[in-house]
Structures are given as structure tokens and as C-alpha cells.
């Protein structure tokens, strides 16, 4: 602006000098005429011709000067109007292209252009008088806002890019240049800010970055529309293994990726995503020699469409290791159980008296050997159980079971163990029947484990109370002892493998330290909950809750109807 004003001064100076020259010439002519008029005789007599010539010359020069002056004045006017037009155009262009604000030195808005109001989602008049802080994520204490204020106060232009916020909280990226204006005394009177919207560029850049990342991911990535299952994106690995090219992706659906994929099966697979039951669903797949795992989740795209993102991870190596591990566990179990068979058998024969009797000391040592062999065998069995559960090999054949007679039976089965410790089991319930879908063998294991724990921690001649009641959508089965209790700081360790807590009464009790870990896994496999409540010195209640309602068999049509419903909800 300053440069333009200087230019204008320069141009107005030239016509002024010409103007002076013309004035001098005119004065000279007038003075000459006066002289001629006073001595006309003398003029006519001698110098006539010469004077006429000089006179005419002066007249001509005068005319030419006036003409030139007019010409220059016109040029000057043209130039000024052209410049004004140019400035108006620049102003209009800036206004159309950029977001313009004028603020006072404290950052309060004096005026904004329509672009600014539109982009930030305010009306022009509601912005006037407000602090510029309202477009920064942290308001007037936002570090960027403060930095700008500081720079302007020091008379410096601030330029940079930053993240700002619209009225509805959406993030925008702006490239801004903010100029302080000063009055003649050098005081900061206002600031003009010009912003250009860089949000799309930012988004595109991020998308490009992510795409690049995805493209070169070793895992196969498939993104497809959740409504019609048409492909939206497939990375290089996915394109390779599907035999697609990036160009014909738009004509493909996810079913083209694997000809063996069953549509109904797929719909059933993704159903938990629609129902909100799960965020990610996973499934093992085998493709030739490759075995892998597909994980799928559902996301909402930028345009509001729901998308499935499936990632296929090659797990061939991992599966191989897992298999080898399972085999080694099986081998170890065999290798351990064979010598245990001999040890246990020998001890049993000795203990039976079939080979003669022992004196009291020898017998007590023999008893120690018997007890510890038994314990070792339990550990081996528990490790095998855990390994089986972990590998998903534990048989969970579920059936509809009435828990009332079931619990009665398990309690009766464990009576012998209670008798040994001189602890009674007492089962009481108000329910006549309680049907649940459980794997009876496994649930027997859980309950037996809780009963034996409770008996172990009960005082001699104590009673372990077993309860069954309804609680919301669950059956709650509880086993209560009046033992020493579990301190709160031990809570997290209770369900961990091999964690036998130091008992609150300082006594040691025998166990493998795996029982509760196994019980927890079994209960979880029933979509149940297992936990405990305890009071030091009073006792502990372990309980597990099993879902009350038998899982109904959902037909594929129902699933499809549900999917469509969900999609229409989204739309």
C-alpha cells in the first residue's frame, strides 16, 4: 500500500512543473504586448516584422503548452481510475478467496467478511465484538492466539498455519497472515487478518499418508461398503492375492476376493458388529498352504457411509509354532504321566498292605509320598486343561441343564472331600428350577473347585453354604465359607495362574494354584462372570453368574433383516 501511494505522488509532480512553465511564458507575452502598445509608431516604422514573428512564436508555444497540459491531466486521471479499479479488483479477489477479519488491538472483532462467517458457521453480526479467541481450541488462552497477540503488539506481521475450530466444534486448518495497522503516532490501532482454508489439503495429505501406509502393509487390507459389500479399497497385498488390479476394484464385491466365501456365513460372521455385541470379529481361514486370521471391524466413512475394514494376517508361522507347542505339551504330559503311573501304582501297592505292613514312621513317610504324588498329578492335569482351553480344544458341549438338581448332585459328589476336612456343605435355594445352557462336565469342575477351596479355608466343623438365585439376566451361584477372608490387595492375583495367596491366617493350604484360573476361563466360555466378595476374619463368598436365557437360534433371514434395519438407521 505504502509503495502504491509513493508512485501516485511521483506522477502528480510532473504536470505541476509544466503548469509553472506555461505561467512564465504567459507573463512574458503580456509584458511584451504592453510595450508594443505604448510605442506603436516606432514599432510600425522599423521593427514590425521581427516583433510579429516573436509574438506569433509566443502564441504558438502557449497553445502547445496548454494542449500538453490537458493531455497530461487526462492521462493522470485515467491512471488514477485504473489504479482504483485495480485496487477494487484486488479487494474483491481477496474477499472471494480468503477469510478476512479486522480486529482491535485486544483481538476483538470489528468486522469480518462473508467467507469468514460462512466457514466458521457464525453470522457476521454475531461475531462483531467477540474475541478472536472463540475460533481457537483453547479460547483466549490458546498458545497460538497468545502468540499472534504478542507479535501484533510488537508491530510484527504474524504468518503461519494452525488448527482452528468452527461453531460446531469441527477442526479446520488455516493458513493466516495477520498485519498490525498503526496510526501516525505509531500506536497499534487495528489488525487485518487474511486466512486461507487448508483443511481439505490437510485431510487429503493425511489420507495420502494413510493410503501409502496401508498400500504397503504386509497384511491384506480390504475396505468395503457395509450396505452392498462393494469394494472401496484394497491394498497391494490384497490386490495381489485376489488377482485384482486397482482399476477394476470398483466393480468388485468382497465375495470376489475369495470364491469359497459363503454369503450367509459372512453375514452371520459380521452380525455381532451390527448388534454392537463386538467391536471386532475374527475368523481363521486357510488358503492353500497359508493359514491366517481375518479381523473385521465397522467404521463410519467421511461421507457417513458405514464401511467394513477386514485385515487378513498371515498366521502360517504362528500356527505352526502353536501346533508344535501343543504337541510338546502333549508329549510332556505323556512323559510325566508315565513315571507318575509307576510311582502312584507302587505307592498304592505298598499302602494297600498287599505286600506287607509298615511301622508307624515308615507309614507316615509313605503317606507324604502318596499325597504329593496326587498333587503332582493334579498339576499335570490342570496344566493340560489350561492348555486345552487356551488352544480352544477344551470340549464345551453345552446342553440345557436345570441348575437345581445339578448343584445338588455336584455337592453330593464332593461330600467325601468335605468329610475328610470335617466341613459340611449346605445348598439352599428358593428356586424350583433354573435352566441354563451349560457344559455340565466343565461346570462341575468349576463348582467342585469352589467347593474344595471353600472347604480348605473353612474352620474344622464349619459349614460351606451354597446358594442359587436369580440376578437380572443371570443365575447367581455362590459358595460361602467362614474362613480367614481374602485381603483386598490380593484381589487381582486371585484368578492368576499359580497364584496361591498367602492366607490371611498364615496357614498354607494345598492346591495347584490353577483351579480358579481354569474356573474363570470356563465361566467366561459360558459368557458368564466369576468374582468374589470377602471380609477379613469373616469369610469369603465366591460366586459365578451364568446367562439365564438360552441363546435362541437366530435364522440367517433374521440376521439379514437386522442388518438392513441397522443400515437404514445409519442412513
Amino acid at each position: 500500500m505504502a509503495r502504491m501511494i509513493g508512485l501516485r505522488n511521483l506522477q502528480t509532480a510532473k504536470p505541476n512543473r509544466l503548469h509553472n512553465a506555461v505561467a512564465v511564458a504567459a507573463t512574458f507575452v503580456v509584458v511584451s504586448l504592453l510595450i508594443f502598445n505604448t510605442g506603436s509608431e516606432w514599432f510600425l516604422a522599423g521593427m514590425n516584422l521581427a516583433y510579429v514573428s516573436v509574438y506569433l512564436l509566443f502564441i504558438g508555444a502557449l497553445g502547445l503548452a496548454v494542449h500538453r497540459r490537458n493531455q497530461i491531466l487526462k492521462l493522470q486521471a485515467d491512471l488514477v481510475s485504473e489504479q482504483e479499479q485495480e485496487i477494487a479488483l484486488i479487494h474483491a479477489a481477496i474477499n472471494t478467496h480468503a477469510l478476512v477479519t479486522v480486529t482491535d488491538p485486544q483481538g476483538f472483532i470489528i468486522s469480518v467478511n462473508q467467507n469468514f462467517a460462512d466457514r466458521y458457521g457464525y453470522s457476521k453480526c454475531e461475531l462483531v465484538g467477540k474475541s478472536m479467541g472463540l475460533i481457537y481450541p483453547d479460547g483466549t488462552s490458546d498458545p497460538v492466539f497468545l502468540d499472534i497477540r504478542k507479535s501484533l503488539a510488537a508491530g510484527k506481521i504474524w504468518a503461519g498455519e494452525c488448527e482452528e475450530m468452527t461453531a460446531d466444534g469441527a477442526k479446520v486448518f488455516m493458513r493466516s497472515t495477520i498485519v498490525p495497522m498503526r496510526d501516525e503516532a505509531g500506536r497499534h490501532v487495528r489488525s487485518v487478518a487474511i486466512r486461507t482454508d487448508n483443511t481439505d489439503f490437510h485431510r487429503a495429505e493425511r489420507a495420502r499418508f494413510l493410503k501409502n501406509l496401508f498400500d504397503h502393509l504386509q497384511d491384506e487390507v480390504y475396505i468395503f461398503n457395509a450396505r452392498n459389500l462393494n469394494m472401496v479399497y484394497a491394498n497391494h497385498s490384497a490386490l495381489n492375492s485376489s488377482g485384482w488390479s486397482a482399476d477394476d476394484l470398483s466393480n468388485k464385491s468382497i465375495f470376489d476376493a475369495d470364491p469359497n466365501m459363503d454369503k450367509r456365513f459372512f453375514r452371520a460372521y459380521v452380525t455381532p458388529l451390527f448388534s454392537g455385541e463386538k467391536e471386532v470379529v475374527s475368523i481363521d481361514v486357510n488358503r492353500g498352504k497359508m493359514s491366517g486370521e481375518i479381523s473385521t471391524r465397522m467404521i463410519r466413512g467421511d461421507d457417513g457411509e458405514m464401511l467394513f475394514v477386514s485385515v487378513l494376517r498371515d498366521a502360517t508361522e504362528r500356527k505352526k509354532i502353536e501346533r508344535a507347542k501343543m504337541e510338546s505339551v502333549s508329549v510332556v504330559s505323556h512323559e510325566l504321566r508315565t513315571p507318575l503311573t509307576s510311582i502312584k501304582g507302587s505307592l498304592r501297592l505298598l499302602n494297600s498292605g498287599a505286600l506287607g505292613t509298615f511301622d508307624e514312621k515308615a507309614q507316615s513317610v509313605l503317606d507324604i509320598a502318596v499325597r504329593n504324588t496326587e498333587r503332582l498329578l493334579l498339576v499335570v492335569n490342570d496344566i493340560l486343561d489350561l492348555e486345552k482351553i487356551r488352544a480352544g480344544k477344551m470340549k464345551m458341549e453345552k446342553s440345557n441343564v436345570d441348575l437345581v438338581p445339578f448343584i445338588n448332585e455336584v455337592v453330593a459328589m464332593n461330600k467325601g472331600y468335605g468329610d475328610e476336612l470335617r466341613v459340611a456343605f449346605e445348598f439352599k435355594t428358593d428356586l424350583e428350577s433354573a435352566h441354563a445352557c451349560i457344559a455340565p462336565e466343565r461346570m462341575t469342575q468349576v463348582l467342585a473347585n469352589l467347593l474344595s477351596n471353600a472347604a480348605k479355608y473353612s474352620p474344622t466343623f464349619g459349614t460351606v453354604h451354597i446358594g442359587l438365585r436369580e440376578e437380572e439376566n443371570y443365575w447367581r451361584i455362590s459358595v460361602t465359607d467362614d474362613g480367614p477372608g481374602i485381603p483386598e490387595e490380593g484381589r487381582s492375583a486371585v484368578f492368576e495362574s499359580f497364584s496361591q495367596l498367602k492366607s490371611a491366617d498364615g496357614q498354607n493350604r494345598k492346591g495347584t494354584g490353577l483351579g480358579l484360573t481354569i474356573s474363570q476361563k470356563i465361566v467366561h466360555a459360558h459368557k458368564g462372570v466369576i468374582d468374589f466378595e470377602s471380609e477379613l476374619g469373616k469369610g469369603t463368598t465366591f460366586y459365578f453368574k451364568l446367562p439365564r436365557h438360552l441363546p435362541s437360534i437366530v435364522s440367517i433371514d433374521a440376521i439379514e433383516a437386522m442388518m438392513l434395519e441397522d443400515i437404514s438407521d445409519v442412513a
Binding site: 502333549s330 504330559s333 505323556h334 504321566r337 508315565t338 513315571p339 507318575l340 503311573t341 509307576s342 502312584k344 501304582g345 507302587s346 498304592r348 501297592l349 494297600s352 498287599a354 505286600l355 498329578l377 492335569n381 493340560l384 470340549k395
Partner: protein, 135 residues
């Protein structure tokens, strides 16, 4: 199926053979031939003329099933019933063996004081089954 007296027991673990010997001869009063391998059993089975094969399932070289196939190849031994013993706890293995015609599958570790009784039980149940079927 008549009286159960003679049992051919095959197990590669010597200690287990000793315990089984006590369990079957001392406690159970059976007449038992113990063999340390399938090969040994194949050599001696024909002369012993057992009423029952009691075979360890997991053995090196010839496993229980392979040994049984060879043993059944001798004339007079084609119909001799079999009970397997196994330290492998997998239920499916046991089920599979029963389906293939084994009288029973006894898991290890076994109780030597109960083993003889257990085998008699299995034998008796099976005889009754056969009897019922015959009628």
C-alpha cells in the same frame, strides 16, 4: 466269551510292567504274560493263547493298534478281545478306540488295587452284551 484267565499285557515301560504284574497276578489272580514291545508280543502270543490283550496305546516302533492288527493275524487269535491303556487323556482317542471295537480304554495312571476288578467288570459287561445280542 468264557472265563477270563490269561492276559497278554504289552507295555514298553518296565516299571509299569512290574506294577501291572503285581496288580494282575497278586491282586487279580490272573495268569499274565508281560511283553516290553509289540514285536515281543507277536513272537510269544500264539503259544500263550491269551483270553485278552491288554495293550499300551502309545509305544515306540509298533503302537497299540499296529500290534493288535499283527496279533489278530494269528489263527485262533482273530477274536481275542482287547483293552487299551493310555496316558493320553484325549477323550476323542478313547472314543475312537471303542468305536473300533475295543472292550475298554483304561486311563493311566491306573490304581493297581482296582485294575483287576476293573478288567473283570469290563469283561463281564461285554459278555452280558454279547449274550443279550445272541438271544
Amino acid at each position: 466269551m468264557g472265563e477270563l484267565n490269561r492276559i497278554l499285557h504289552v507295555d514298553d515301560d518296565e516299571d509299569i510292567r512290574v506294577i501291572a504284574n503285581l496288580a494282575l497276578e497278586l491282586v487279580g489272580q490272573f495268569e499274565v504274560l508281560h511283553c516290553g514291545s509289540g514285536q515281543e508280543a507277536i513272537e510269544k502270543a500264539f503259544d500263550f493263547k491269551p483270553d485278552l490283550f491288554l495293550l499300551d496305546y502309545m509305544m515306540p516302533d509298533l503302537d497299540g493298534e499296529q500290534t493288535l492288527r499283527e496279533l489278530r493275524g494269528f489263527s485262533g487269535l482273530e477274536e481275542v478281545p482287547v483293552i487299551f491303556m493310555t496316558a493320553r487323556v484325549q477323550q476323542d482317542v478313547a472314543d475312537n478306540l471303542r468305536r473300533k471295537g475295543a472292550l475298554g480304554v483304561i486311563p493311566k495312571p491306573f490304581d493297581p488295587m482296582e485294575l483287576a476288578e476293573l478288567i473283570r467288570e469290563i469283561w463281564k459287561t461285554h459278555s452280558t452284551d454279547q449274550l443279550t445280542r445272541a438271544i
